[in-house]
């Protein structure tokens, strides 16, 4: 991989108690499916991000298990019902064992 996968997250910094907020995430990654053949006819080995996890104050709130059919530079959006102030931890788990992480604070008032 030419560049280190970089996560990007769009999440509001503030929310009212009980407010439903939409969280949008992106990460740069080829998502090599393992089904593609190179010029020499050899199968390019699979290398994808296979799991996305969203935690809030250490508690898992949403997970996605991605298969090779997920597009390159995978996008994932979902919702969260704001209850208390704290911090999101978003993590992306690569087939090669790497973990890419983004942390975002949320103030609920």
């Amino acid at each position: 991989m030419a560049t280190q996968p970089t996560p990007r997250v769009r999440v509001p910094a503030q929310a009212k108690p009980g407010e439903m907020i939409e969280i949008k995430t992106l990460i740069s990654h080829e998502m090599e499916s393992g089904q593609r053949k190179d010029a020499a006819g050899k199968t390019v080995p699979r290398k994808i991000i296979n799991k996305f996890t969203a935690q809030f104050n250490g508690k898992t709130v949403f997970e996605a298990d991605w298969n090779p059919a997920i597009s390159a530079n995978p996008y994932q959006s979902f919702f969260y019902k704001a209850a208390e102030s704290g911090e999101f931890t978003f993590s992306w788990k690569d087939d090669d064992g790497s973990d890419y992480v983004s942390k975002n604070k949320l103030t609920v008032a």
Binding site: L26, Y75, S77
Partner: protein, 570 residues
């Protein structure tokens, strides 16, 4: 809402009553004195029994035609599924019968295809932005500027040499001078994302498109709707770009945008508009008629859908539930007027007329004439250059072929040494009468696009069939949401049979290599020329040079009637 007054048919009857009497009395005959006597005057065209306080004017699919022209409506316009046999999928005698139009009348000439050449010699050209300016001005004068909303359904910036050379600036200047209030887009996007954004940000009119999103974060790219106040009523206009733009046209020209129908988002727009106090909710749509007809039955609360894209012109409103659909034709041939009466923040009545823009009957607006001349001036010499002459009637519209497309296919096969030619089923481009000279303007009116390269390539018989199947499904899928608009790809040098009622993969059969008379073999390779490829970096000369070279070499072109496509299942 139940008291819509569909006066259009009665209007047509008024306009054609005299002629009907004459043709009935003299037995039969669309031509001659009867036709000549019923040429419409400017006041006939403008005559309207006003209603309420609000007027909406709709013009669409002008395809950059600044000047009057001939444009023949289709003689074959088949509908499938729920649209089968219903307007706009009826033509000629059936169309005239449905809308009570006399054979040979001005309206018959404007709206149907048969007898076009002889009627054209009597009724003359249609359209021209200076004539449209006169009609718009007259309605504004009658109703008051503050009571009239002028909406443009898109496909305005593309279709001429001048629009291509100025990257749409000619049309932007003209539509700005016409004081268009809002527009939507399709071919506009083929000038590329940056140019569209540049114009949309600067133009005095709103460029609305609720269904365009950036494909990174799914955020809207354009304003989805705008609220106008006219005649004391709040009117919400929601813009809907062609949902299939990224499939039908080169996606690489706007790589960060995605489209789609986004029905639920339209519903949200309607609900928000009502919450903001809209008395009238209009969808300014480039969906195509059949898609809009389906959509009207599924989205609640739309009062009016101003349809576009499929170039249908209908002298009456089509009603689906509480929604009325307007089809205002193309190429500047028509201007639609809707008068609307509002009571208790709701529509209590609508009157409609499809005004035919007969160029010989309408006095040009001087200011607009001057502007049109000014924007054309830098290209005037090129536009007027004669490249040849035609002995045949050249036209574009029809589901399977048009003689102008046959000419383009002939040009590609001879100029590019190809067995087979493929030409896209575009619905835009003017018609030429037998005996007309063919100028550079005529050639480019049928070819001016931003991806004009005429490629030459090898394709197998199997690939040819797959292309035809794919395009056919785009037109004849029974669910309009799976259609893309346009007509069937035009084929030169190869015949085929099509059963439009079959599913994808089994519509096309009997592929025949015409020169040898032999069946096209799935595994065999053929040399194919074509243009308007949606892939980046397509190589080959621009199609207008290919066509001009062919016409110029021929001197006078003659196109034989095309009998190479056998249609069943209609």
């Amino acid at each position: 809402m139940e008291k819509y007054m569909l006066i259009s048919r009665r209007d047509f009857l008024q306009a054609t009553a005299a002629a009907s009497a004459i043709t009935a009395a003299s037995g039969y005959g669309p031509l001659g004195r009867a036709a000549a006597q019923q040429r419409l005057s400017q006041s006939d065209i403008l005559r309207f029994d006003p209603l309420g306080t609000v007027t909406i004017l709709h013009i669409t699919d002008v395809h950059a035609q600044l000047m009057p022209l001939h444009f023949r409506e289709p003689s074959v316009n088949l509908g499938v599924g729920d649209s089968k046999g219903l307007p706009p999928h009826i033509t000629d005698a059936e169309f005239r019968k449905y809308f009570k139009i006399a054979t040979g009348s001005a309206d018959a000439f404007a709206l149907t295809a048969d007898d076009f050449v002889s009627l054209a010699r009597n009724y003359g050209r249609m359209g021209g932005m200076d004539r449209i300016a006169t009609l718009v001005g007259a309605v504004r004068a009658e109703r008051g500027n503050d009571n009239v909303l002028l909406l443009d359904g898109g496909d305005t910036w593309q279709g001429s040499w001048t629009s291509l050379q100025t990257r749409a600036q000619d049309m932007v200047d003209v539509m700005s001078a016409l004081k268009v209030d809002a527009m939507v887009g399709h071919w506009e996007f083929t000038y590329g994302a940056d140019r569209v954004k540049e114009i949309a940000d600067k133009a005095p009119f709103a460029f609305l498109a609720q269904n365009v999103r950036d494909n990174e974060w799914q955020e809207p790219v354009f304003d989805g709707r705008k609220m106008f106040e006219r005649g004391g009523a709040k009117i919400a206009v929601i813009g809907q770009a062609l949902p299939r733009t990224a499939v039908a046209n080169p996606r690489w020209m706007f790589p960060k945008w995605e489209f789609g129908i986004r029905e639920e988002d339209i519903q949200k727009q309607v609900d928000e508009a009502r919450a903001e106090g809209a008395s009238i909710v209009v969808l300014l749509s480039h969906n195509g008629f059949d898609v809009d007809q389906k959509l009207a039955g599924r989205v609640k609360g739309l009062d009016i859908i101003l349809t576009a894209h499929t170039h249908d012109a209908m002298p009456g409103l089509i009603k689906v539930g509480n929604t009325v659909l307007v089809a205002s034709g193309s190429h500047g041939k028509f201007l639609s007027r809707l008068d609307i009466e509002v009571k208790d923040k709701k529509i209590s009545g609508i009157r409609f007329k499809l005004m035919p823009v007969f160029a010989d009957a309408i006095a040009p607006d001087n200011a607009m004439s001057a502007l049109v001349e000014k924007v054309r001036a830098p290209f005037a010499k090129d536009l007027a250059r004669v490249v040849g002459k035609t002995d045949s009637f050249l036209y574009r519209r029809g589901n399977f072929n048009g003689t102008f497309d046959d000419l383009i296919c002939d040009a590609m096969r001879s100029q590019r040494d190809a067995d087979i030619a493929l030409s896209p089923g575009f619905r835009w481009g003017g018609s030429l009468l037998p005996g007309d000279t063919i100028t550079w303007e005529h050639v480019t009116n049928a070819t001016a696009i931003t991806y004009p390269n005429c490629y030459r390539n090898q394709m197998t018989g199997a690939q040819l069939k797959e292309v035809l199947e794919d395009v056919a499904d785009n037109i004849f899928h029974p669910d309009p949401y799976f259609q893309g608009g346009g007509d069937m790809v035009r084929v030169g040098g190869m015949g085929y049979a099509i059963d439009i009622a079959k599913p994808i993969g089994s519509r096309i059969s009997q592929l025949t290599h015409l020169k040898s008379g032999q069946p096209i073999e799935a595994g065999k390779t053929y040399t194919v020329a074509g243009w308007a490829s949606i892939n980046e970096n397509t190589q080959g000369p621009p199609i207008w040079d290919v066509v001009a070279a062919h016409v110029s070499k021929s001197g006078t072109v003659k196109v034989e009637p095309n009998t190479d496509v056998k249609v069943t299942g209609a």
